[in-house]
């Protein structure tokens, strides 16, 4: 087993008395794609900032590439690529200059940075926008430029904080495709998201975080197997009839989850559960059978949904 590139032990960050990150422990192996899945305010960004050596921990231990970020901030940061939640591109510089200048921040020679900048513009599908102003780029393009910029120093770990939040579906898919390529090339990825589909697609392994704590850890498929049934039947009866229907449904499937707008029936077979629902004389307005997802895992663990 190769040495982990990140080791967090009881990592805690407090703002005054409030623990934004409350004693989390995890390891990331080289080449792995590791995720933190959790709702807004779970402490994902705070964790990423500590891992990125731009925020000091309150307590616990943290090693990045074997180094303590308190002691070796610049040395660690020189080996990281960071895509923060909010883009922080240099709007006073043009697209390609953003990459060149960023490379210089790492002390890399101009010739090397120039060559790499062109490769990365190609990778980010921005070659034709090299001379554009940053403010003229679309949200998806800015995100891709931020990722390209994060790769300028050929980092050993790429940190992505909510890489696709706020993007339209098409832009998300382009971005996922780019990230998938990085993953295939063996880049170590650490990403946060509150989209369960993003986590399922991109993460080899993830932790589910809520209120600064880790609720579960594992591979996406294993987490689903462990914490949810194979399938889910979603039935809607109209908001005022949900509660009543839920009483009648007791015992159908393995477990019920009553949400404000629908009832989730966890079962080995969703179709069979639906047959049972009709047998009990209920007629849902809509019904849908789907496979269990990380969303269900989160609901099971916290009683809340990931995205409100």
């Amino acid at each position: 087993m190769p040495a982990p590139v990140i080791t967090a032990t009881d990592l805690t960050k407090k703002y005054k008395d409030f623990a934004a990150v409350d004693g989390i422990s995890f390891e990331v192996a080289p080449g792995e794609s590791f995720g933190l899945l959790g709702p807004n305010g779970a402490g994902k960004s705070t964790t990423m900032r500590m891992v990125g050596a731009v925020s000091t921990r309150t307590s616990g231990d943290l090693r990045i590439l074997g180094l303590d970020p308190d002691e070796h901030g610049p040395a660690i940061r020189s080996q990281l690529g960071v895509v923060p939640q909010q883009d922080n591109l240099d709007t006073e510089l043009r697209v390609r200059d953003n990459l060149l200048v960023y490379g210089r921040y790492f002390g890399l020679p101009h010739s090397q940075v120039a060559k790499r900048a062109d490769e990365l513009l190609e990778f980010a599908q921005l070659s034709d926008r090299a001379k554009a102003k940053v403010d003229d780029l679309s949200g998806g393009m800015k995100r891709r430029l931020t990722i390209a910029r994060a790769l300028i120093n050929d980092p050993r770990i790429l940190l992505l904080d909510e890489p696709t939040t706020g993007l339209d579906p098409q832009a998300r898919h382009i971005l996922w495709d780019r990230l998938f390529r990085l993953k295939e090339r063996g880049t170590t990825l650490v990403l946060t998201t509150h989209y369960m589909d993003e986590a399922e697609q991109l993460c080899d392994r993830l932790v589910v975080v809520d209120k600064g704590r880790i609720m579960a850890e594992g591979r996406p498929a294993a987490l689903i197997r462990e914490h949810s049934s194979r399938e889910v039947l979603e039935v809607r009866f109209g908001s005022d009839r949900n509660e009543g229907a839920a009483a009648t449904l007791a015992g159908v499937g393995d477990r019920l989850e009553v949400l404000p707008d629908r009832i989730l029936v966890y079962a080995q077979s969703g179709e069979e559960a639906l047959v049972e629902v009709t047998k009990r004389g209920l007629e849902p307005i809509t019904s849908l059978v789907r496979r269990s997802s990380l969303e269900d895992v989160f609901l099971r663990l916290t009683g809340r949904t990931l995205v409100e």
């Binding site: 407090k14 990125g52 731009v54 925020s55 000091t56 921990r57 309150t58 307590s59 303590d68 308190d70 002691e71 070796h72 901030g73 610049p74 040395a75 940061r77 020189s78 990281l80 960071v82 923060p84 909010q86 883009d87 922080n88 591109l89 240099d90 709007t91 006073e92 510089l93 200059d97 200048v101 960023y102 210089r104 921040y105 790492f106 002390g107 120093n153």
Partner: protein, 274 residues
């Protein structure tokens, strides 16, 4: 819960290694590239303002003023008396322009420093780089003004050449202190205080008449202000009245540079590497 031994983050500094990667020039290079999008009108205003003062007060009003002497009692034209003061002012203006408002906007509205500090740059690199940029602007303003003085025959001694390193030092001092102070400013009102302090400092730092017109307590106040030291230093050099007091002026600016750097670095660290 185990006893928390590590709550005091202040005590876990990693020394210079955590603050400085020896790459301030990358910050300077970025700044020079970004000046392409500078508002050149503002730059030109900054350059010409002291020149206008020199023409209006030094040459115009000065033709009515006689009996002016340098620090060692030699008679000199009034224009040659105020020109070095305005030279120090132009170096100050250039340095202040970049290190106050520009820095304020970057600290609060842009994410430039956040981006820089996510790389191997440390806060001291960023502080030094940004201060150097402000210094360069101050030096450019000052050099232009020195050339104007030369053209008007207001450099009375070969030692005026030494005014060049002197205005570099003055610009460095104001750039550093300016950024140090700005980094603690949170609102526009607070920034306006800077302008509120600068104007009287410009008018009363023995710029247009000697310190001796003031009663003694006022003299002390003026002598505590940074511009007075700059004015006296430069005036000595361009008029050729060299004396040991100049070392005090140089020392004052060295302290200013150091204080500004320390505070800027601390503040950048507190804001962007909390």
């Amino acid at each position: 819960m185990t006893a928390d031994l590590r709550t005091d983050t202040q005590h876990r500094t990693g020394g210079v290694r955590a603050l400085y990667s020896g790459n301030a020039r990358a910050v300077v290079a970025r700044g020079l590239l970004a000046t392409r999008s500078t508002n050149w009108i503002i730059v030109l205003t900054g350059v010409f303002e002291p020149v206008f003062y020199l023409l209006a007060l030094g040459i115009g009003l000065g033709s009515y003023i006689g009996g002016v002497t340098d620090t060692q009692g030699q008679p000199i034209p009034y224009a040659a008396y105020i020109a070095p003061a305005l030279l120090a002012v132009s170096a100050m203006n250039g340095a202040i322009y970049d290190s106050t408002w520009n820095v304020f906007f970057k600290m609060h509205f842009g994410k430039l420093y956040q981006g820089m500090l996510a790389t191997s740059l440390g806060p001291l690199d960023v502080a030094l780089g940004e201060i150097s940029l402000a210094l360069l602007r101050g030096a450019a303003y000052g050099t232009t003004f020195l050339l104007v003085m030369q053209a008007l025959g207001l450099n009375l001694s070969w030692t005026a050449l030494l005014a060049l390193p002197a205005i570099l030092l003055i610009a460095f001092g104001f750039a550093s202190l300016g950024m140090g102070i700005t980094s603690y400013m949170k609102t526009f009102q607070q920034m306006d205080w800077i302008a509120f302090v600068l104007l009287p400092m410009f008018l009363f730092s023995a710029t247009f008449y000697p310190l001796t017109v003031y009663p003694e307590p006022i003299q002390w106040v003026v002598q505590a202000l940074p511009l007075w030291h700059g004015v006296e230093l430069v005036r000595g050099l361009t008029t050729g009245a060299i004396g040991p007091a100049m070392l005090v002026h140089v020392g004052y600016y060295l302290v200013m540079v150091a204080v500004g750097l320390v505070f800027t670095t601390r503040r950048l660290r507190a804001l962007f590497l909390d």
